[in-house]
């Protein structure tokens, strides 16, 4: 028997036991088997695609879908179309920007829409300030490319300031130019 992906003999016969339509048997050569087995337990692309397909059957019309596909995140520039095809988002802000489109998807995948469990001990940045930091970083790279080092260093300072503000367990006005953003101790006296 030949491998189902190439001409080599199939020496591995793998059974996926949790496919929705019952067990699926695959016949693979050593190399393809290794690639296949070393992927994550659940193939994210497949499950995103599956969940999206289900979701699209439920609601949207073709015109609505086309419109949605063109929607682009202002921070990372990813379109919904690209997300749909790759199963991967472009930046943390996508969860806010595409929120209403993602909720049905999350429901489909997880049967839930709200996180329960661990949270970072220090203050999490708001979605907006996370987006702002990503934008600033991009601007900084552009400034460096244009050899506008003054502008680049201004942006770097602003980024540092934002990050160091977030390093505090609670918001507190500290002097600008706080240097120790990497080693800020976990404050215990305020939360």
């Amino acid at each position: 028997m030949k491998c189902q992906y190439c001409e080599k003999p199939a020496t591995f016969h793998i059974t996926e036991l949790t496919e929705p339509n019952g067990p699926k048997v695959m016949h693979l050569c050593e190399e393809h088997a290794r690639n296949f087995l070393q992927k994550e337990a659940t193939s994210p692309v497949a499950s995103v695609a599956g969940a999206l397909a289900k979701q699209l059957q439920l609601g949207q019309t073709k015109a609505e879908l086309e419109e949605l596909d063109q929607k682009e995140c202002p921070v990372c520039g990813i379109s919904f179309f690209e997300f749909r095809n790759t199963g991967r988002l472009g930046c943390p802000y996508d969860y806010s920007f595409f929120e209403s489109d993602l909720i049905p998807l999350l429901t489909n995948i997880h049967d839930a829409t709200e996180h329960v469990g661990k949270r970072p001990r220090r203050l999490a940045a708001s979605a907006d300030s996370q987006a702002r930091m990503i934008q600033l970083r991009r601007e900084m790279e552009e400034a460096v490319e244009l050899e506008d080092y003054e502008r680049a260093s201004e942006i770097r300072d602003e980024l540092k300031r934002m990050e160091s503000d977030l390093n505090q367990p609670a918001p507190e006005e500290t002097a600008n130019g706080n240097e120790d953003e990497a080693n800020s101790p976990e404050g215990e006296d305020q939360s």
Partner: protein
């Protein structure tokens, strides 16, 4: 530090998680937990520029090096590795196939005992993983939780009040946690009950995957059980689902099936596992599939007390060390598939013979 020397040393040893000593280690090979994390101030990997990737790697590395508890960490630049060294780390389960095959800045940091590793610039900026021998999810969780806390002390994670830890793929969002327990279930395969067992578990939010499924001539009889969802359940609840509900039940079925086999026909079973050991320790050429198949039988034989002069840790180690990149590292050069079969046979022979009478090897 010289990466080459490092790798050769690594190839001769094996990870702590293979030592075959944790709870239920006759059936459970290993417990693995991984957490997906992203930095708040960078786009996800797909949208990262080369500068972004470099910058993430540098930032994370500097911050890991500043963590005092992590002094003995080994940091490996995957971009600089040869194909075979990448494959070696994949076989070793220290990195994913995905990060091995990717392009651009990417790295892995690991402890000398190979109990944890942190992949940088995989599908998410950070993939933290902890491996533990046997079924020991509480220990694995305590460890990964603390690693995560230490990283979070100096790295700002992408986190959303409602959706939790944000990940590139929505299938990981929330806890970002995937727990995978690797099980060895030869008796359920022999008694043809395996599909029935897993079918009964399909509706309870776990993914089960047969690594070398029945119906194949050569089978290692390994199955991996993982949580399917990551959002809407706490880490503890997800661990408990896999570790307290699903896996113990499978273990119980496997034990029953083993007892049944022993009771039904101990002589046949004894003959079968002894022949398997015979082939492994005398063959002159052997493929990796055949090796898996016979090692699986020998492993069961050891666990049932039918083979008493081979250590479980040896068998666990042989599963990993007879894979292609390991053989080539041990041999010190590239080998074609037919040369590998010869080397594999000789490696097995050395280790299985050395074992008899001595009980220990390295």
């Amino acid at each position: 530090m010289n990466q080459e020397t490092d790798f050769n040393a690594l190839a001769r040893n094996s990870g702590e998680w293979l030592r075959g000593t944790g709870p239920e280690s006759d059936i459970v090979i290993s417990s693995r937990i991984r957490l997906a994390r992203n930095l708040a101030d960078f786009p996800f990997i797909r949208r990262c520029s080369d500068e972004d990737r470099d910058s993430i790697e540098r930032t994370v590395r500097a911050r890991m090096e500043a963590i005092e508890d992590w002094n003995d960490i080994r940091y490996i630049d995957i971009e600089e590795l040869s194909e075979i060294d990448r494959q070696f780390l994949v076989e070793r389960q220290l990195i994913s196939r995905e990060i091995a095959d990717a392009d651009g800045s990417r790295a892995v940091a690991m402890d000398p005992g190979e109990q944890y590793s942190v992949m940088i610039n995989e599908e998410d900026h950070l993939r933290i993983q902890v491996m533990q021998s046997g079924l020991d999810l509480d220990a694995a969780w305590a460890r990964i939780d603390s690693l995560d806390d230490q990283l979070e002390g100096s790295i700002l994670y992408a986190f959303h009040e409602k959706y939790g830890y944000l990940t590139a793929c929505p299938t990981n969002v929330g806890t970002g946690l995937r727990v995978s327990v690797m099980l060895h279930l030869p008796a359920l395969v022999i008694t043809r009950q395996i599909e029935k067992v897993f079918r009964s578990m399909q509706r309870i939010n776990v993914t089960v995957r047969g690594l070398y499924g029945e119906g194949s001539q050569y089978s290692g009889d390994f199955y991996q059980v993982s949580n399917q969802v990551t959002l809407g359940h706490s880490e503890k609840a997800l661990l408990s689902l896999v570790g307290d509900e699903v896996v113990p039940q499978i273990i119980q079925y496997e034990r029953k099936a083993r007892a049944f086999l022993v009771e039904q026909n101990q002589q046949d079973l004894h003959d079968d596992v002894s022949r398997a050991l015979g082939i492994l320790s005398t063959a002159k050429k052997i493929s990796s599939e055949e090796t898996m198949h016979y090692l699986s039988k020998v492993r069961m034989g050891v666990n049932l007390g039918l083979i008493d002069d081979v250590e479980l840790a040896t068998i666990n180690k042989l599963f990993i060390h007879t894979q292609p990149a390991h053989l080539q590292k041990l041999h010190g050069r590239m080998l074609g598939s037919s040369d590998r079969n010869v080397q594999r046979a000789s490696y097995l022979q050395r280790h299985l013979h050395g074992e008899q009478g001595e009980g220990e090897f390295n």
